[in-house]
């Protein structure tokens, strides 16, 4: 029916290179999550600030991040800004693109988490003499963390998978980029990409399961 001889050795021989690529993939994902969370906190503060320009800025960010293709966001971070004479390396571009996307989704998560906590919690804190900031820090924020923790691990998985879009801006040191280059060398397309897919799967599964374990330890209530 089809005439193809699998040569899995060709792929497995390249496993060390691919695992090096996987490290870069994880590096991008972790950095983009750390920056994304920091920016999402800032955007959430903007949204609650009551200042129209700040609220509009945050809303625009969230709208673009959630309603346009991730590929578009990464393109803009590379080729888009190049039109204005700003040139980023592929690594920086993919990091900016995914961070932008993460921040948008996480801001929406944080908003949902904040809404899920009754106003009376903060009020109870205030009535005990806590300042507004203390109420937030000791009463609201820990509860927000619980609500947004699993969505955050989802976003982390999504960040890992989005790194594959880096090839479109010339990224070749991450897992997908390395696989693409090896494919050009060996033409063992199916084997190489199947192996890459397994590595992706193992990484994301580890994140999901790890997240659940951490959540179970962290949130005992």
């Amino acid at each position: 029916m089809f005439n193809y001889t699998f040569q899995w050795n060709q792929a497995f021989n390249r496993l060390p290179q691919m695992l090096d690529g996987a490290l870069v993939t994880m590096e991008i994902a972790i950095l983009s999550m750390a920056l994304g969370i920091a920016l999402a906190i800032l955007l959430t503060v903007f949204r609650l600030s009551g200042s129209r320009p700040l609220m509009a800025f945050a809303t625009t960010w969230v709208e673009i991040a959630r309603n346009t293709p991730a590929l578009f966001q990464i393109y803009m971070a590379h080729f888009g800004v190049a039109s204005f004479g700003i040139h980023f390396s592929p690594f920086v571009s993919i990091l900016i693109g995914i961070t932008f996307n993460n921040a948008g989704y996480l801001t929406e998560n944080f908003r949902g988490a904040l809404k899920a906590i009754p106003d009376t919690q903060g009020r109870a804190g205030r009535s005990l003499g806590l300042t507004q900031l203390q109420s937030f820090r000791y009463i609201i924020a820990p509860q927000m963390l619980r609500i947004s923790f699993l969505p955050m691990t989802n976003q982390m998985v999504w960040a890992i998978l989005m790194t594959s879009l880096g090839v479109t801006v010339g990224m070749n040191s991450d897992l997908y980029g390395v696989t693409q280059d090896l494919n050009a060398l060996t033409f063992r397309t199916f084997e190489l990409f199947a192996l890459a897919a397994v590595i992706f799967y193992l990484i994301t599964k580890t994140i999901t399961l790890g997240g659940r374990l951490i959540a179970a330890r962290l949130f005992r209530y």
Binding site: T120, S127, L130, Y138, Y221
Partner: protein
């Protein structure tokens, strides 16, 4: 001493307090009764500054609650409040719920705060629940925890806002017992309540609120036995 002088308060168009005057002496227990929307709960949140007032004056031991120069966070250490919805902090254990404010507001060391919290929790009958999370407690237990949480700040005054209204009937008794105990110990209390038996037993004075006005105030025997205001008579006839 808590002095309330001609306090008015509106939410939008709706005037919920139409000039309230009330003075509560140290050691006194005053209960406030009245129908829904009579303004009695709003008065409590105004007393500890959670709500601003439109005009009038509320002073606590001479400090004007709504003056700009007043440090409300500091003032609230003197005045504990417990709400109908007990607002347990779900992410903290019972002990942590009670130690949070003494540690963060009063700057107490952990061990000292825990000693006080344990004492207060034992006092309200929760000595065996220290490491439990609120979700494992009944409504009555959570409400007693909220009372211990307020008491741990060693307030001079306690405000209780319909603290038994959200409880299953069989849990009301244990919370009322706790309030009675506090009253007997000499705590100054203002209790908004629908529990007429409690109001009669515990209070020195009972105030009846009707549509934002304090229609009548008097000793329990007088107010329940011989109400003067027609609205009080109507209200008491209905709740009996």
């Amino acid at each position: 001493m808590i002095e309330i002088q001609n306090v008015r308060k509106s939410f939008g168009e709706l005037e919920v307090l139409k000039g309230i005057d009330l003075t509560v002496q140290r050691g006194e227990v005053v209960t406030v009764i009245g129908g829904s929307g009579s303004g009695k709960s709003t008065l409590l949140t105004c007393i500890n500054g959670l709500e601003p007032i439109d005009s009038g004056r509320i002073t606590i031991d001479g400090t004007e609650v709504h003056a700009k120069s007043t440090n409300l966070n500091k003032l609230r250490r003197k005045v504990g409040i417990v709400f109908q919805q007990w607002n347990a902090f779900p992410h903290l254990t019972v002990l942590e719920n009670v130690t949070l404010a003494p540690r963060k507001v009063l700057g107490m060391a952990k061990a000292e705060a825990e000693a006080i919290a344990e004492k207060q929790l034992r006092h309200v009958g929760l000595g065996d629940k220290l490491t439990t999370y609120p979700s494992r407690l009944s409504g009555g237990q959570q409400q007693r925890m909220a009372i211990a949480r307020a008491l741990a700040m060693s307030p001079d005054y306690m405000l209780f806002d319909e603290v038994t209204s959200a409880l299953d009937p069989q849990l009301v008794g244990e919370v009322l017992e706790t309030l009675k105990m506090l009253a007997e110990e000499g705590m100054t209390m203002i209790c908004v309540t629908h529990e007429m038996g409690f109001a009669r037993d515990v209070s020195k004075r009972v105030a009846f609120f009707h549509q934002g006005i304090m229609a009548e105030i008097g000793a329990p025997d007088q107010l329940f036995g011989d109400p003067q205001h027609p609205e009080t008579q109507k209200f008491l006839a209905n709740v009996r």
